[in-house]
């Protein structure tokens, strides 16, 4: 009773605060100076039509490196909390039917859908610099494809060694690309070390496609490992 009154009071006070902000907010009429600078600089210096990917992968590339590190720490931490081998041995199996086999509907659907999902993920990763997309988004789509395979075939054992090795290799190559930017061009993760190419073509914008591919592979492997840990 008193807990209910307390909850309502807290939510009402927050609602008052948010309403004050939402009502008195006026829309911006022009871009602020930093944003206008970015929108002008990215097509000019980097040759990338997509301004957001240019910011994420070059001008704020160090933040992206930090985020990649956070993802790696989460995958390792989940392996610590959930992947204990003694826990798997002592776990009580389900009451009567251990693993329910998947039906023909799900298996056929997965057989049709998994190639489509893979092509779509590759398209989004490679088109990160031309239109909306990028490494993180494509990696999440690959992980959803792997989850579809897990659903369709319950005895599918994900090869943790292969995925872990691929992910670490992609991470190391990402840092090496950053250091190469340091040596050959302006600074860490500067994508101008490769030629800019023609604006709007597929192979353009310096090293941004390569960095996108590395990010996509790394995020896809990590999310697949995270999803698989929840299965045991």
């Amino acid at each position: 009773m008193i807990r209910r009154a307390f909850n309502t009071l807290v939510v009402a006070l927050f609602a008052l605060l948010f309403a004050t902000i939402a009502v008195t907010y006026t829309e911006q009429q022009t871009l602020p100076k930093l944003a206008a600078g970015y929108v002008k600089l990215v097509p000019q210096e980097l040759g990338a039509p997509n301004v957001i990917t240019g910011i994420l992968l070059t001008y704020r590339g160090f933040d992206t490196l930090g985020e990649v590190a956070v993802l790696f720490m989460v995958a390792a931490g989940l392996g610590l909390v959930l992947g204990d081998s003694t826990r798997r041995r002592d776990a009580v199996p389900a009451e009567s039917e251990a693993i329910v086999p998947s039906t023909e509907l799900v298996r056929n659907g997965a057989a049709i859908l998994f190639p489509l999902i893979s092509i779509f993920a590759a398209y989004i990763i490679m088109n990160g610099h031309l239109s909306a997309g990028g490494g993180f988004q494509g990696g999440a789509i690959i992980a959803s494809g792997v989850m579809l395979l897990l659903l369709a075939n319950p005895e599918y054992l994900v090869d943790h060694d292969f995925l872990g090795g691929t992910e670490s290799l992609a991470g190391v190559l990402y840092v090496l690309a950053g250091i190469a930017g340091l040596i050959f061009a302006g600074g860490f993760l500067d994508s101008r070390m490769l030629p800019l190419g023609q604006f709007g073509a597929f192979f353009s914008a310096g090293a941004i496609p390569i960095i996108s591919v590395l990010l996509g592979v790394k995020v896809g492997c990590e999310l697949s490992v995270i999803i698989d840990r929840f299965r045991g």
């Binding site: 039917e97 998947s102 509907l105 799900v106 659907g109 859908l113």
Partner: protein, 112 residues
Amino acid sequence: MTKLVGSFLVLLGAIFLFSAGLGMLRMPDAFTRIQAGTKASTLGNMLVLIGVAFYHPDWSLKLLIVIYFVLLTNPISSHALGRAAHAIRIPMTRATVTDALRDARETDRSAS
């Protein structure tokens, strides 16, 4: 004129989507909720996309591909959810009359 038809189809789709949400709130147990959520929301989705196709006729092919994708994935996912819910023995509401999956599984087990 075509814009009027398109807007009407989008409104119809929105009504179906709203009824899907309402059904998920008011249905008694998990199985009826899965059914309400899937059927109404798939139809609402498709109607909204067809309405948008009336607004922009040069997007028709892409929208048709998206409709095909939605029609392919929604029923499969709800089928998998329903079978999983039955496998961990979620209790059914008391108004249930028959349970065809349990009968089928028992005949399979007694036959093998």
